[in-house]
């Protein structure tokens, strides 16, 4: 008996995988049905649906990058403190002294890559007409995911707290100042006033809500940190689950009707 067979015959192995190795047809079906991670997929699938030249694998790669970002992100959270005193220095230490500081590189390049792959995924879905019935709603879920991906990247951009970070966020968030009605330099902000007092000022408008302050400061760092590490990832994960569920319920990868 080989070592492999011995392991596969052990009680431990069998308690984890409830069937023999997927060497024959029956077990290849069973593995898809019993494994938690694999049950995302159908048991069998049309050949054209798995052709790389059809799906470009871009949805899958986007999801994989999301996982990579989650893992490297959690590792980074062990080192990084989102305060004015430490944020920059912690990143500096990651670069210069920390073992496995390369996690920051992987996290940043993975984020850039994810933005690109999510665009390409959308491009492919459009070009194959896969948003047409019955997949309209999943396209809508996708657009929200696209938006969340950009917001994830945007909120993360601030965390290194260097010149690049605060000025990019300043430029980006200055727009919120001009929100119609809700920004203190937006058209129509005068409509919201009580007895001559403006309700919308630079300390109560949409930009203040985003930054937690009148300029990009410590409150902003805290707000963006929580958005970046908790709120948006949770929202994305939930929507990705719905997205995948709908891919299956809408009949799998699109195909000529």
């Amino acid at each position: 008996m080989s070592v492999g067979d011995y392991i596969r015959d052990s009680q431990i192995w069998k308690s984890i995988f409830r069937h023999p190795a997927p060497y024959d047809r029956r077990n290849r079906v069973v593995v898809m049905l019993t494994n938690f991670f694999l049950h995302l997929h159908p048991v069998s699938i049309k050949q054209h649906g798995i052709a790389l030249s059809y799906t470009w694998c871009m949805g899958g790669i986007t999801f994989f990058l999301f996982l990579v970002e989650t893992i490297t992100g959690v590792l980074l959270m062990f080192y990084y403190r989102p305060t004015l005193e430490w944020a920059f220095n912690d990143i500096l230490a990651l670069r210069d002294v920390t073992t496995l500081g390369i996690m920051r590189e992987i996290h940043r390049w993975g984020a850039h890559a994810m933005v690109i792959t999510v665009w390409l995924h959308m491009y492919r879905v459009f070009l194959t007409g896969s948003y047409k019935p019955p997949r309209e709603f999943n396209w809508v879920v996708g657009v929200i995911l696209l938006k969340l991906t950009l917001l994830l990247s945007f909120t993360g951009y601030l965390l290194p707290w260097d010149q690049l970070a605060i000025w990019a966020i300043t430029v980006g968030s200055n727009m919120a100042r001009a929100t119609p009605v809700l920004g203190h330099e937006g058209p129509g902000f005068q409509f919201l006033n009580l007895g001559g007092y403006d309700l919308i000022t630079n300390a109560s408008d949409a930009r203040f809500l985003l930054l937690g302050s009148r300029f990009v400061g410590e409150e902003t760092l805290n707000r963006f940190y929580i958005l970046h590490c908790v709120a948006i990832p949770l929202a994305s994960a939930g929507l990705i689950a719905i997205h995948f569920w709908r891919v299956r319920k809408d009949g799998g990868i699109s195909q000529p009707l």
């Binding site: 390369i102 390049w109 690109i116 948003y131 047409k132 938006k147 605060i166 699109s254």
Partner: protein, 472 residues
């Protein structure tokens, strides 16, 4: 300055020039790039050899049949020679003067890219040419040729100091890669769409419909996924080792960098700020883009082209979407990343980012055109001590031409279109859906329209009410 004299001075005096175009290490690096290009072309030659395709020389050149592989192999050998020359002669740059981007070519390229008008005209023209020539472009040999030309352009351009500064920034490297990736997938789309369109003309079903045998997910899909995950992981690790994530000086609220740029994926929006005020470019238009994208499945009533690649069956949808994605979105990101420099001026890719470059700006509002130049009378201004209502009335009167223009554009224009070019759309969509659709298309067109008006007649705002922060 002449490149050759730069090379020599750099060699003789050491690195006196703070911005040397060519240095031995640059040339050495290029040698490796040419070697990679050579290896890629060896593979391609091999493929051509097995496909055994020929092309015929024109009659006056003898009219012979020549195998494609012969051409590619000659080209590959040339690349090998170029590469070896670079690797061996990197310390004698005079020997390599033929592989340095000549100054007149730099000037020519810069005159195209360093002017928003020409840049936009060229990208739009290229987009139209791409659609018109799609049958020819989608041939594998043509696609490969274009890829080679663009890589050669990149390599030769790397002999320029300013070009290296802007392209080599770690955060910009993915954008350069994105250009090639988006180009590749656009090519792939046309390749597959042409194939299906040809099949449709012969009365056959799309290729996707024929390839519909069921296979087991394990192993056919899960193994592909596994390989994909390993490849991506390896890529990220190599990328992380090769390029360090940027970290600039600690944040300082008083030192504003010039230019201050938003993250690269928002540079298309930042570019819109040149033409529209923040409330439009930064808030309304992004919301319309998001909302409009969500509305696509409910607007597009065309049942064809669901689940396979095709161009002929969805000409309008594909053209509109691609125009939005390629020249407007990706094109504006390129403009914002590589061409916008200090003071948000446009610079050529070989041009030094000079903070003192001046560009004259004297833009005129539509109301000024109307009252001052059209009617020859001053702008209507309310008497100094008039009430809020009277003042508002005057403001509205002053800007009436703009309100009428915008109202006509978003209100009357859809009706005109419904009776002309969009007639079938109007009939099939119904009123409400048609209005949403036509307004979305018109808003998308609003950006190019404003750009052209800005360049042609220096138009600043259609409606200019700075008193209320309401400028359109």
């Amino acid at each position: 300055m002449n490149s050759l004299s730069q090379i020599t001075s750099c060699l003789i005096l050491g690195s006196t020039d703070p911005h040397p175009n060519v240095t031995p290490s640059v040339l050495f690096g290029l040698g490796w790039l040419y070697l990679i290009l050579f290896a890629m072309n060896v593979v391609w030659t091999w493929r051509s050899f097995h496909k055994a395709r020929h092309f015929r020389l024109p009659e006056f050149m003898g009219g012979m049949d020549i195998p494609n592989a012969a051409l590619w192999s000659i080209y590959s050998i040339a690349l090998l020679l170029v590469s070896v020359t670079h690797l061996t002669c990197a310390s004698v740059p005079e020997a390599l003067r033929w592989f340095v981007m000549p100054d007149f070519a730099k000037a020519a390229v810069d005159s195209v890219v360093a002017d928003a008008r020409i840049y936009f005209a060229v990208t739009t023209g290229a987009f139209i040419a791409m659609l018109a020539l799609r049958d020819w472009l989608a041939k594998p040999n043509v696609g490969w040729g274009i890829l080679n030309l663009s890589l050669l352009f990149l390599c030769v351009s790397l002999t320029d100091w300013d070009f290296r500064q802007i392209v080599g920034k770690p955060d910009n490297v993915p954008i350069v890669a994105m250009l090639f990736i988006v180009g590749y997938f656009t090519w792939l789309y046309f390749y597959r769409a042409n194939q299906n369109d040809r099949r449709a003309a012969e009365g056959k079903v799309p290729a996707e419909a024929e390839n519909n045998e069921k296979v087991l997910t394990w192993p056919d899909l899960v193994y592909t996924e596994m390989i994909c995950m390993i490849a991506i992981t390896a890529l990220l690790i190599l990328w992380g080792i090769a390029l360090q994530a940027p970290l600039e000086e600690p944040a300082s609220a008083v030192k504003t960098p010039n230019p201050s740029k938003a993250p690269w994926y928002f540079l298309g929006l930042q570019e819109m700020l040149v033409y529209y005020d923040p409330w439009l470019a930064g808030v309304v238009f992004p919301s319309v883009i998001i909302g409009g994208m969500m509305a696509i499945p409910y607007i597009d009533f065309n049942k064809l082209g669901n689940g396979y690649y095709t161009f002929n069956e969805r000409k309008f949808a594909i053209t509109t979407f691609m125009f939005g994605f390629l020249p407007l979105w990706v094109g504006m990101i390129i403009l914002g990343t590589f061409l916008r420099g200090p003071n948000w001026n446009i610079f050529g890719i070989y041009e030094f980012w000079d903070v003192h470059k001046l560009e004259a700006l004297n833009n005129v509002n539509l109301s000024e055109y109307f009252w001052l130049y059209g009617l020859g009378q001053p702008l209507p201004i309310a008497p100094a001590d008039s009430s809020f209502v009277v003042k508002s009335g005057y403001i509205l009167l002053r800007e009436a031409p703009g309100f009428i223009a915008i109202g006509a554009y978003l209100g009357a224009m859809p009706m005109v279109l419904a009776m002309s070019v969009f007639k079938t759309f109007f009939l099939r969509m119904g009123f409400l859906r048609y209005m949403v659709f036509s307004n979305l298309v018109l808003m998308m067109a609003a950006l190019p329209i404003k750009m052209v008006l800005r360049w042609a007649v220096n138009l600043k705002y259609f409606i200019a009410i700075p008193e209320w922060f309401f400028n359109v």
